[in-house]
Amino acid sequence: MRRVVVTGLGVISPLGRDPDTLFAQLMAGQSAVGLVSTDGPAGQHFSIAAQAAFKPEQHFSAGQKTDNLDRASQFSLAAAAAAIGDSAIRVTPDNAGRFGVALGTGMGANKSLEDAYIQLLLRDPNRLKPLTVLTVMNNASAAHIAIQHGLGGPNLTYSCACASSAAAIGEAFRQIRHGYADVMVAGGTEAILTYSGFKTWEAMRVLAIADRNDPSATCRPFSKNRSGLVLGEGAAMVVLEEREAARRRGAHIYAELVGYGSSNDPVHITKPTVDGQAQAMRLALADANINAESVDYVNAHGTATVLNDVTESRAIKQVFGEHAHKLPVSSTKSMLGHLLGAAGAMEFVISLLAIRHQAIPPTAHLDVPDPECDLDYVPGQGRRDQDVRCVMSNSFAFGGTNAVLIARQAEA
């Protein structure tokens, strides 16, 4: 079976667009969460979220048309260009048909859809931007990435809420492994920090209650005083490549993607199950053909909802047994917020950076231990000089999809 390596990384994150800078800030426990405002019908609406530091002019030339690109598409195009540049891979007419795109997004082109409805329902019932369909369709991001780089292979968009981009990377991995493509640009994007975006999540009462003393500490995964998730935005893309081809061209290899597990909790639209999450982790381990004891770090889904963090902790204990108590498990959502459809890809990238830097990022704001969450969550500060050879990244979604990725240090 063909093996798959990661040769390029690209991020647009609430902690910047350079992967190593992002990782350094995470290591220091630096949170990007803060107060943001959106325009609503009753004026300014304030929310707590992690906004991406994104300047379109840094990513698009003056002549490039961006008025039909939603913010989510702009994020993904910028992240994909960075990942492809980082991999130094060349697309030629001969190989373009073997290059594909797999992208995950949960809520799609939120801002453009909001603008379209405001225009149509409140301003003029007969006047809508003519290319609205092309802007808001969920596969707009994947399509534009392929057009920009001339990628003629499989072009697929996955939408399974918070597991979307982990699934996209996992499915892209299979495309290469089973010979349908040689290179896949894979990842996810989300841009939901709009008035309607916030209101839909507020209505569900899953957002964290703002920390009035320190808004940046609002997201507290695995802490007894956690109160819910904090929304974030951004994109993360990786270049996946067939290992022998990557070696032949002397590519820099970040890690080998070795396992993908996919399962579902078929009982409730939001309620996670220990068994479903554990099954996805077990399938990923079996797919990687490794023992649970080989895993050195788990980047947890860790949303900071009461239910997720207990369920995930129990699932990790079920899968890892005794090893669970020696295994560092952290939630970087404490600093980046929940990037929903982009979360899995962002956290996969962070997991690869843990291998690259031999360091484990922390769970920030974990102040009050929860007896029901009794693992080593790396509270506060990251740990340097660690032996990180094999990492697991967990993503679990509303709707029940569980997607788990395992990567390990590339063999010399």
Partner: protein, 93 residues
Amino acid sequence: MTKSTFETVQEILASKYSLPIESITPAATLESLKLDSLDLIETLFEVEDEFHIRVPQDRGEDVTIVTVQDIVDVVNKLILQQHPAQLAAGQQP
């Protein structure tokens, strides 16, 4: 300042697609300006606002737009249909 329909269409195309104004002649085909069918749809949207006209959904049935002049012809025809009162007051399309 008085402007012809052509001049207004020319300005819309030049500004929207960063085209040199001299390249937009009446006989220039949209293809030669590297404008595709989606660009045409967006251009018609702007033209509608500029001239306060509405291009009917079925415009494609009897009109084929190939050149800049074809856009001008469509606009003029719709102004005559949709704004006869303004013409009577002496405005020229």
